[in-house]
Amino acid sequence: MRVIGKIELKTDLVVKGRRFEGVRPVGSFEDVLEHYLNCGVREFLFQDVVASLYDRAISLQLVKVGVCRSFYPVGVGGGIRTVSDAARLFDLGVERVYVNSGLAANSQLAREIVNIYGSQAVGVAIDYLEAQGKIKAYYNHGRDAHEMKIDQLIDLCVSSRVGEILITNIAHDGHPEKLPCPSIFKLFSSVGIPIIFGGGIVPERDGAPLKNRFPDISGVAVCSHFLQSFNDEA
């Protein structure tokens, strides 16, 4: 199973919050990246958690450092609102862009990028909360609820021919002590697109059970687990 090391950014700093709130600085990007590489991470996701809020792009300089240092596939999310935003990242060598907030303003954004760069270059990030049996998708790093229902968002992913869907359980974000609640997977059966699951994931503990329960899962996105060992070593 793929293990994608997720690094959350606020401008140039690596940060981490809980349930998408209360982000605190963790350390320098270079040090955290080096730590992830030492942990054996071979795929990366750099996500700027305030880019959409401040209507700006992720730091291209940081992305370039990450791509040049790792020689592994790098995905980027946060503040991607136009095809041009995506193009600038692909020019740096980014493997895949993840869109979420951009879809709230332009539901065709993912399709537009796919049409030029191909399915493998585009993912959709679905951040969700489950309450009273209902699942709701959010954007702007959990600040705003999508008007689209979750099943409409999933249909959009399929019709846009995106190459990946990244699902994050907001309630478990920053809580690696919590076991995953994969009840959302029933919505993704037979979608036929690689699914990455995130939110408090511990690869050694959760990888096999998730795969057994949901054979179509392609991988997990991991953040807090790697940052715990980073803090322990600091």
Partner: protein, 216 residues
């Protein structure tokens, strides 16, 4: 008397959205000098012994269309057909073959025999690190693709003894690459497969990167 072979140049194709950045950085990391090919005129600098690298992302049809738009199909085909060394990566590798079901109306460069089919997998694209079944190196390489050449394939491909094979799923063998020939390449991304990928790329390019011997 023949002088020792000197190194040829590496030329890397840039179609504007074809993963030049990652490949260029890999070559720089390997201290391999290269020049960029964007238009037909740029190919005039190629000579026997040089290597043309075709990086690529996206669909087969879109890649071939971009080649057509820049009038690059015939010169690349001729370069490969008359002894030139070509190394393709991902869709750049796919373009070396005859065609792909992904884009039925687009012809490939036909420098290698075979056609790509949609892989019979429940989830596509197939993404991740996989080992090569029949390669000395035990490490894994990064694949991301939906169309592949399923093995066993055509007789021409079966007779080729320099092909690499990988298994995206049990009992499904897919062509991972063609090595040792003048024209070859890989379905995976060596430039995104860490140090083992860089080492593989270095080996493949250096193997091809020899000027024709010169007589005194």
């Amino acid at each position: 008397m023949m002088r020792p072979k000197a190194k040829g140049m590496i030329f890397v194709l840039d179609l504007g959205n074809c993963n030049l950045g990652s490949v260029a950085r890999a070559l720089e990391k390997l201290s391999l000098k290269y020049a960029v090919v964007r238009h037909r005129g740029d190919l005039n600098a190629l000579s026997p012994g040089d290597v043309l690298v075709l990086p690529g992302v996206g669909s087969f049809g879109a890649f071939m269309e971009r080649l057509e738009d820049r009038d690059l199909v015939s010169p690349i085909r001729n370069f490969g057909a008359f002894g030139g060394k070509v190394f393709g990566i991902c869709v750049g590798f796919q373009s070396l073959f005859e065609g792909s079901a992904e884009s039925p109306h687009a012809d490939g460069l036909a420098l290698l025999k075979g056609r790509f089919e949609r892989m019979p997998l429940p989830v596509l694209p197939s993404v991740g690190f996989f080992p090569i079944k029949n390669h000395d190196v035990a490490e894994c390489f990064y694949f991301t693709h939906s169309y592949g050449i399923l093995l066993p394939a055509s007789d021409a491909l079966e007779q080729m003894d320099n092909k690499l094979i990988y298994c995206p799923k049990e009992n499904i063998d897919v062509l991972a690459g063609v090595t040792d020939g003048q024209v070859g390449g890989v379905q995976f991304h060596p430039e995104k497969s860490g140090l083992q990928g860089l080492s593989f790329l270095n080996h493949e390019l250096n193997k091809r990167n020899r000027k024709a011997p010169e007589k005194d």
